[in-house]
């Protein structure tokens, strides 16, 4: 088992069209590194120069917004489902 990451449409050019990618990693920062190893450049899309998640990127682990958890330090384990969702500036 591994972690399943759901990729939003604007990132699928980087993932050669894949809408789901499986990785193994112990926390969210490591998940992003693993994604970037598989698809170089994806980290730049998700994170700014300081390595923090960009303003308009939302990430959910098993449906929970990571800002309610420990952000990029949130621990991850096999079987987790991660969604990357662009902020809909702004939902009504």
């Amino acid at each position: 088992m591994s972690i399943e990451v759901r990729i939003p449409a604007p990132l699928r050019k980087v993932t050669n069209g894949a809408d789901k990618v499986n990785v193994e990693a112990g926390n969210l920062a490591a998940v992003i590194e693993a994604l970037n190893d598989a698809y170089p450049g994806i980290k730049d899309r998700l994170c700014d120069e300081s390595g923090a998640l960009r303003n308009f990127v939302n990430v959910y682990i098993n449906g929970e917004d990571i800002r309610f958890l420990d952000g990029l330090d949130t621990l991850t384990k096999s079987g987790d489902e991660i969604s990357i969702v662009p902020a809909v500036a702004g939902g009504y």
Binding site: A9, P10, D19, R45, R67, V88, A89, G90, Y92
Partner: protein, 412 residues
């Protein structure tokens, strides 16, 4: 005629073709409509606008789609009422209520949905959809019916009856999601990636949100081509707030207003005030909250336009006001009793914020103040259930006199 040129990223400036997309591929910033303002400047005039239809389509030159591209439900050009009774209580001589609860489905959402629906038809979509805190569901359902589109509206299952029935009547497919609005929104974002549906506030968002600018245009036109000194606006995502400001500035840039020095004040209920929290903490990073408010139309815990709303407040030296929950219904009554306007909870939030700013002396007596009442009270009847206290009487003269005496004593 529309003068839309492109979409562009509000963060990094990259340009995109006009298409049903809302996110920059490079930085995830939101896409915004780009116009050919030079061309607009040549054709637009006060006369031309004044001779246009009595609806949002009088501002067609500044919208991203033509009226004739689709349907016209007669949205907009709603009353701007001088609120002298309420003004007197608050010590304000130039208080106005922009009463947008008189739109076809009784909220300002008809403005954004009118634009989004026409654009969806132009793009060739046959399904119209949305994630809603209530008012949007009704508006999308009505527009979908009129445009003969397949319509799907998603909302949190704990919505008020008036909002659910107010969407159901138009024959749309209702999807009641067991979760918060923010969860509904995330579901719809993922659905929009994989279905050819026009989600008005997801993939159609750049076009949709432009509809809110018309509130700024109208107020300025109705004041006699003058920007208000102050606007007080309810916020959920913060989009309406920023677009009113954008509308006023476009009018100024096009030479239709001499100056714009408007102070923009934003109002949220205590049970869901992430934008006010960020303002108080002097940061542009809005931390999401879990909403728990009776103002369900404003229950967005993760407001995506919060960042831009905070910028607008800073730019205009405005305020962000957190309204105590009990004041929401109280101020719905205050507005009804003084001005004869029955608004929903979002309007109660705005009137409470107005009162608080006036009481604290932040608003000066002669300022031209516009409070935006964006939805109709018949949709949120449950919050004022205790408002009715009739004189119960038998159908004869004597009984009535006796009953009235009892009632008067109780209500002294």
């Amino acid at each position: 005629m529309p003068y839309i040129k492109c979409l562009y990223c509000r963060e990094c400036g990259r340009e995109y073709p006009v298409s049903p997309e809302h996110v920059c591929e490079f930085c995830f910033g939101p896409l915004e409509v780009g116009y050919d303002y030079e061309a607009i400047k040549k054709v637009i005039s006060k006369d031309k606008i004044q001779n246009g239809p009595l609806s949002i389509w009088r501002y067609e030159d500044l919208l991203p789609v033509a009226r004739d591209a689709g349907i016209d439900m007669g949205t907009g050009f709603t009353p701007l009422v001088k609120a002298d009774n309420l003004g007197k209580i608050l010590g304000l001589n130039n208080l106005y209520i922009k009463n947008d609860s008189t739109n076809p489905t009784f909220s300002f959402k008809d403005r954004v949905v009118s634009v989004a629906t026409n654009k969806a038809l132009e793009f060739g979509f046959d399904t119209l959809a949305c994630a809603s805190t209530g008012n949007l569901a009704g508006s999308v359902s009505a527009h979908g019916a009129k445009a003969k589109m397949d319509t799907k509206v998603f909302f949190p299952s704990d919505l008020e009856q008036g909002k659910i029935l107010g969407a159901a009547i138009y024959g749309a497919t209702l999807v009641a999601v067991d979760g918060t609005y923010d969860e509904v929104n995330r579901l719809c974002s993922e659905l929009a990636d994989n279905h050819k549906w026009a989600f008005v506030n997801v993939n159609m968002r750049p076009f949709y949100s432009e509809g809110s600018k018309t509130l700024g245009y109208e107020v300025a036109e109705q004041l006699g081509w003058r920007a208000p000194d102050r606007c007080i606006v309810p916020a959920a995502s913060g989009s309406l707030f920023t677009k009113i400001w954008k509308g006023l500035n476009e009018f100024h840039d096009l030479g239709l207003l001499e100056s714009v020095n408007t102070i923009m004040d934003l109002a949220q209920p205590e049970g869901c005030s992430p934008i006010v929290d960020a303002f108080d903490q002097d940061t542009y990073h809005v931390k999401p909250v879990r909403p728990d408010t009776i103002a369900k139309s404003l229950a967005i815990g993760n407001p995506a336009d919060g960042f831009y709303a905070l910028k607008t407040i800073a730019e205009t030296k405005g305020n962000a006001v957190r309204v105590p929950e009990p004041e929401v219904a109280e101020c719905m009554k205050l507005l009804a009793e003084t001005e004869g306007i029955f608004t929903e909870t979002a309007g109660g939030v705005v009137i409470s914020a107005l009162r608080s700013l006036a009481k604290r002396g932040i608003i000066s007596t002669d300022e031209v103040v516009v409070a935006f009442v964006t939805g109709n009270g018949l949709k949120t009847l449950e919050v004022i259930e205790d408002a009715a206290d009739p004189v119960f009487t038998d159908p004869d003269y004597k009984s009535f006199q006796a009953a009235l005496d009892v009632w008067n004593k109780r209500n002294l």
